[in-house]
């Protein structure tokens, strides 16, 4: 999902694209009823002193690298924003600093106090805090409740956008509020207010066409409570904190998977793990070729954790391809299986979740013939460790059944940000669940 901070160079292109899609046309339906608009007007007047544009400033050019939004939620001058807005300053504090721009144009510097990379939230502190702040509410509203999001879309100026609360998104590992209203790049980290003027959620991402997502405000409250128990930043490293949060996230992820009853799916003659947890979605397709038929089943999660601009992790995906020969001789069939087995890594998976090569170690691959149940598999497991977060690695797995010269099952998997120990446990359980009589 596109994140909502504007990056240098991307802004113009993004606006261009928006116009190309016809979004620049006057939207007639936007004419809202007078009481609503006056509500938005009142809220904006009330809180315009408490909201800031959050900018990450490049030390060499003194210009902004990216912008997002933030709001003050404590009298002590603590601002909430998204982690992805300030991630550059977290990773490279020597090169980037954080600056906040008030509605009236005054600039203030701020420092990062705490964050949670998994929930995509960060708390920054103003050096000269004002006393106005926005109180936190809760996200237990009924569907259809009006919400007002404040932000600075495409760096065009502070704006307030109204829309409706549409509950918590189902089939996700982490709760996200579905907001039906348009959020745009530059609004990341801005507050979503209910009609009483309390914060309900924090703007985080959009899927376009008025499908937008908010982080529930409870997450912010949790993180703020956590901050009170933590030592000052000077005494620990951000990398360690990120690693700890990623490992916790992974533990939670696998705990959810192992506690859930695994649903099974059928592909060809085989019974395989299907939607193994509520946050997996599976898609299937099949085709009849002249001399063979194949079907494919692909399951993945929408979850991903953005650690930096060019580094995301925490996703998982597995795909089955069933092949059955109807007229190929065994050698032709194995030749086909081999092509599918070996092309898989390149075709189906992206390895670009780590854009900066220095963040990843080399791939280490083990391949061999493996006995599991009544089947023999050719199996290849490639892992690459993270450089800064040594406990975790990305794993890419491919396997092909060998025994039957007319039928084959090819499985490919991608697990980003796992511990090897977890990977091992998961693979063992996964392989046990593949049932294929004969």
């Amino acid at each position: 999902m596109p994140k909502l901070n504007v990056r240098i160079g991307l802004t113009a292109a993004a606006i261009g694209m928006v116009c190309a899609l016809g979004w620049c046309r006057p939207v007639l339906a936007a004419a809202t009823a007078p009481p609503e608009s006056s509500q938005a007007e009142r809220l904006f007047q009330r809180y315009k002193q408490s909201v800031y544009q959050v900018r990450v400033i490049d030390a060499a050019t003194q210009e902004k690298k990216s912008v997002g939004f933030g709001f003050q939620f404590t009298p002590a001058g603590e601002l909430a924003t998204n982690f992805h807005v300030v991630s550059a300053a977290v990773h490279k504090p020597a090169r980037y600093r954080v600056e906040c721009l008030r509605e009236d144009g005054t600039r203030e510097s701020a420092s990062i106090v705490y964050f949670n990379v998994v929930h995509d939230l960060a708390i920054i502190r103003l050096e000269q805090p004002q006393s106005e702040y926005i109180p936190l509410g809760n996200s237990e509203l009924s569907k259809g409740a009006m919400l007002y999001c404040i932000g600075n879309p495409h760096d065009l100026g502070t704006a307030i956008v109204s829309g409706t609360f549409n509950g918590i998104v189902e089939k996700t590992l982490y709760r996200r509020i579905l907001f039906s209203g348009s959020l745009n790049p530059g609004m990341s980290g801005g507050p979503a207010l209910d009609s009483h003027g309390r914060v309900v959620g924090i703007n985080v991402s959009t899927a376009g066409n008025e499908i937008s997502f908010l982080v529930p405000v409870e997450r912010l409250a949790e993180i703020y409570a956590e901050l009170q128990t933590q030592p000052e930043h000077a005494q620990r490293s951000w990398d360690k904190l990120i690693e700890q949060q990623l490992v916790d996230n992974q533990n939670y992820f696998f705990q959810m998977i192992s506690s859930a009853e695994w649903k099974h799916a059928t592909i060809g003659d085989a019974t395989v793990p299907g939607e193994i947890s509520s946050f997996f979605k599976c898609w299937g397709d099949s085709q009849e070729e002249i001399l063979y038929r194949w079907s494919v089943l692909r399951c993945d999660t929408d979850e991903s954790v953005s650690v930096a601009d060019d580094f995301y992790t925490g996703t998982m995906l597995y795909q089955y391809v069933w092949m059955e020969s109807t007229g190929l001789n065994p050698m032709q069939f194995y030749s086909l299986v081999r092509r599918t087995f070996s092309s898989g890594f390149d075709d189906d998976f992206a390895f670009d979740n780590i854009g900066n090569r220095d963040d990843a170690q080399r791939f280490a691959t083990r391949s061999g013939i493996v006995r599991s149940g009544n089947q023999k598999w050719k199996m290849a497991v490639s892992t690459r460790g993270y450089v800064k977060y040594a406990a975790l690695c990305d794993a890419f797995i491919a396997m092909a059944s060998l025994d039957n010269p007319r039928k084959a099952l090819i499985v490919k998997m991608q697990l980003l940000g796992v511990q090897k120990k977890r990977l091992q446990e998961f693979l063992r359980k996964f392989m046990e669940q593949i049932q294929w009589p004969g």
Binding site: E289, I290, L291, Y292, G327, L328, P330, M331, Q332, F333, Y334, S335, L336, V337, R338, F341, S342, F345, D346, F351, R357, A360, Q361, R362, F363, T365, R366, S367, G368, I369, V370, R371, S372, K376, W377, K378, M379, A380, V381, S382, T383, R384, F396, A398, A400, L402, D403, P405, K420, K421, L423, Q424, L427, R428, M431
Partner: protein, 315 residues
């Protein structure tokens, strides 16, 4: 008065032979300027040989030199021996042959055909060998094209694919043969195109066989035989290079092997350099794995139990 022709050959055959014609019954050979035939070789004495025409042949006298004279494997120093026309006499590092102007020259055909020691084995020169080898290569290509089929079998398609592969292969062999023939033309004034071509085709067929065998061996042993690959490839390259070099250059065995080892070292060194330069990027951004899934001509290896394999990953 007889006309004596002395043929001088540089030890490494790096220069074409030099012929000196002298009138007279008796001549002297040496490094000094007062000789009839002057030999520019540091290992030859100022006066080295004295050659006289007798009815039995050439009477050759080594005039008591420091390094002596080698004839028919025997070293003469201050002695006299009798040599026939065209026999090799080694003084210092230079080979000397004595001819009479009345001697017949070697037929041009034999010269162009090369000497027996530099030729390829006779069975390979039989007329059907080259087409036979080509046919084997073609069948291999056809086989490969056939097993790659996963759609409805259309023979014309399979054939055209096989022909494509085959033409590429023959073209590669042609280029190799042309290259070696050119070297031969320059180095020994003889271009054995057909022989080089036979060798190139043969090496392709043999190497394809080795590749297939190693592929299967890797799969059946369930491990990557990197060292075996390198050794087999290097050995084959060395053998065929030796053959090509023998045909197209006058180099001694020692020099040929030095050249081959040098070439292999250069290849290895550049491969190592490429690995160091590019592998970091390649290996970081793409995982590589052994992708062989071979058909059951043989029973599949029994494989490892899952738990054991998984334990290896975490190590």
């Amino acid at each position: 008065m007889a006309r004596i022709i002395i043929e001088l050959r540089h030890p490494a055959h790096l220069l074409p032979p030099q012929y000196v014609a002298v009138e007279g019954e008796s001549i002297t050979v040496g490094r000094g300027y007062d000789n009839a035939v002057i030999v520019p070789d540091a290992y030859v004495s100022a006066r080295h040989l004295c050659i006289t025409l007798r009815e039995t042949g050439w009477e050759v006298q080594d005039v008591g030199t420091e390094n002596g004279t080698l004839f028919r494997g025997v070293c003469f120093r201050g002695q006299v021996f009798t040599a026939a026309s065209g026999e090799e006499i080694l003084i210092g590092r230079t080979t000397v042959k004595i001819h009479l102007s009345a001697d017949s020259v070697c037929p041009a055909r034999r010269l162009a055909g090369g000497s027996a020691e530099r030729d390829i084995p006779a069975p390979l020169c039989r007329p059907l060998v080259l087409p036979g080898l080509s046919a084997i290569a073609g069948l291999g290509m056809l086989n490969r094209a056939f097993y790659g089929v996963s759609e409805k079998l259309v023979w014309s398609k399979v054939f055209s694919q096989a022909v494509g592969l085959f033409v590429n292969y023959l073209l590669a062999a042609l280029i190799a043969a042309g290259f070696w023939a050119l070297i031969g033309r320059l180095a020994v004034h003889r271009a054995c195109f057909r022989r080089h071509y036979t060798i190139a085709v043969l090496s392709g067929v043999l190497y394809a066989g080795v590749v297939l065998a190693l592929d299967y061996a890797e799969f059946l042993l369930d491990s990557s035989l990197t060292i075996a690959w390198v050794v087999a490839t290097a050995a084959m390259v060395a053998c065929f290079l030796y053959w090509h070099l023998s045909l197209s250059t006058p180099l001694s065995d020692k020099r040929k092997w030095m050249l081959i080892i040098g070439a292999l070292c250069v290849v290895l060194l550049s491969a190592a350099t490429a690995y160091v330069t590019f592998s970091d990027d390649l290996l970081k951004m793409r995982p590589y794995y052994d992708n062989s899934v071979y058909p059951p001509f043989f029973p599949f290896p029994s494989g490892k139990p899952l738990n054991l394999f998984l334990a290896e990953i975490t190590r």
